[in-house]
Symmetry: C2
DNA sequence: GCAGGTTTGTGTAACGTTACAATGGCATGG
DNA sequence: CCATGCCATTGTAACGTTACACAAACCTGC
């Protein structure tokens, strides 16, 4: 970093970026800083047309852009929301569910002139995410992963922050009213699949779930089991995929199939279901005649697979938008009563179950 | 917003957020502001252990978090990168290519304690994206879409910014050394598909491309045509899908198929290819015997389709990481010589061509 | 007991912006 | 020609932080 001599002989650091300030523009245009500021912020009623033109010229010539940090500091407002995702696996971060959620949030915020900060962080280091340790966002969103104790402690942490927070896909009861829960009805989705499989007279089920400990997955399994609760002699066995990678999931499924072929395989997500279908094909099993297969979070995968996948449709994009709306409302000072938004899911009946 | 009376009777706005400042902590701990600041920033060699403990207690009790805007203003550094994507279509924003690119960038930045701002914006309003109009990021990334003139003007705009910028998937020659181009070799990918189809003795090709005007798509088509250039009598016809939605793409493909069945259909992306396969199936065409089908940007779709899709594998995640590395290096003052990074793509031979 | 050093802590002036009060100029009207 | 009001513009004091210079306290060794 460059240093320069001051008159008195001391040295002082110079800015690293060659940023243009209001003061420079004001000198160039021969007006005061405040006049430039008023022009920049479109307070046209305060500035004579002729002056405004001159200032606008200077702004364009010098390529002036207002310094956000200074403005935010002065206004005690950042017009920015952060989202922390407690996982760093690229496969999870670019999962259609996550990316649609983020798209919805981002698009909404963009429309009301807010920006979005995105950070993925491992569950163990959750609380040291920059977005959380430094106060640089007006509001936060979070997707919690990891063991239940870990998630609980992260949840408590978020409650203490005192700024509006949306937590997605989580079941804890908030004790503080800064937190709003937004989730899709994973339990109902799981239950709907369970009922469908009951109609198909399925007796044994393999539930394939990712290693990732995520509340949504738990709820899906819970919903599934609950729908089967009153029917005796239905065997549900959970299988942990060693990773979310296609090959790993396919391999572990094949291992299970070679031991015993269940009547149905319920995968916790569509991408897992894709690998499961592939494993069934490799075993020469007909789907759904020999084994029924279902997925979860249907965006596009169900359109590609053959047979087309029976899955549960997710309103991820709308959930993201909704979270944005809630947060911006809160920041605007509105007391939002609803602390819990559950989005309904839709059962998509494909040919695989 | 609350107001409060000052001693002299004036009113002045209070902060909307109940943020705790260094001053408050310092009062609570009975030390100076600077001591607290030193503790917060881990300058442990400057503070006696006993004092540090006391300060840390106060910090924890008051729930202090440093104000990022103030710090950034003082340091003239934001430790933050912004990415602008010149499209607001959720289907594009959550396209595997885009979301993997963003994951790579986000993960890298997170590791070096930078944050990432994401904004999608329509090509027409590109230059009014908050990320661009306000100076709040140390560096920027951009994905340009829209007509060539529009993209050119956005590119010029980015050149004038004077801060490090990475532009993805674009072919313009930068005139200023703040811009670095990062792209995958779409041309080579298209050419590889072209050569593969030549081997298959294909004579007529339908190129299905999205409405979205994106440089990557142009390059793919150009590469394809270039590979066929020296072989006479090969007919390449481009079809514009009315949207990237599966149903629209399938419909338009079927319309074309009912007029004439080409030897091959080259889709500009895998998701388009998925719809194309579905259209072929609906027409009772065998793939690849009656018509060969190929995709582009292979992440997972090729694993799901039957026949499995022949496609071009994209290193999107690595491209995102690489962009982050370059930008952070530049911000660290390193002169980066390379102004142009081209990532090689891989041809994945599936069963569809 | 005091020069010389080290360790620990503090005071101050920025950083670039905005809210607000205050200024000067220029009409209008009595 | 002076009050009055309005318009356009400006000066100033924050916002919360950090770099730097400096001060105070506490050691040494002679």
């Amino acid at each position: 970093m460059r240093r320069m001599k001051l008159q008195n002989g001391r040295t002082r650091r110079t800015r690293r970026s060659n940023s243009v300030t209001l003061a420079q523009v004001s000198r160039d245009a021969g007006v005061s800083i405040m006049t430039v500021s008023n022009v920049v912020r479109g307070r046209t009623e305060l500035v004579k047309l002729e002056t405004r033109r001159r200032v606008e010229e200077s702004i364009a010539r010098l390529n002036y852009r207002p310094n956000l940090s200074a403005r935010n500091l002065r206004l005690a407002e950042n017009r920015s929301v952060g989202i922390v995702i407690a996982d760093t696996d690229p496969a999870f971060l670019s999962d259609p569910f996550i990316s649609r959620l983020v798209s919805g949030l981002s698009n909404y915020l963009s429309g009301v002139d807010y920006t979005l900060d995105v950070q993925g962080v491992s569950p163990e280091r959750f609380e040291s995410a920059t977005i959380l340790t430094k106060a640089g966002n007006d509001a936060l969103c979070a997707i919690l992963c990891g063991s239940k104790e870990l998630r609980k402690s992260h949840f408590e942490y978020l409650q203490k922050l005192g700024q509006p927070v949306v937590v997605f896909q989580e079941m804890f009861q908030p004790h503080s009213d800064n937190i709003v829960m937004v989730h899709q009805d994973d339990f109902a989705g799981g239950a709907a699949l369970g009922r469908l499989l009951l109609e198909r007279n399925v007796r044994s089920i393999l539930f394939v779930r990712p290693m990732l400990e995520w509340c949504a997955v738990e709820q899906r399994e819970r919903g599934l089991r609950s729908a089967l609760r009153h029917t005796k002699h239905i065997d549900v066995k959970a299988v942990l995929a060693p990773s979310e990678g296609f090959d790993d999931v396919e391999r572990i499924t094949r291992e299970h199939l070679s031991r015993r072929v269940p009547d149905a395989i319920v995968a916790a997500t569509d991408s897992l279901a894709g690998a499961v279908l592939s494993a069934c094909e490799a075993h020469g099993l007909r789907v759904p005649a020999d084994v029924a297969v279902t997925g979860f979070n249907g965006f596009d995968v169900w359109r590609y697979t053959r047979p087309s996948l029976t899955t549960v449709m997710s309103p991820a994009y709308e959930m993201g938008r909704h979270a944005g709306e809630i947060l911006v409302q809160r920041l605007g000072g509105k007391k939002v009563v609803r602390l819990n938004s559950i989005f309904p899911v839709g059962l998509h009946k494909g040919d695989s179950a």
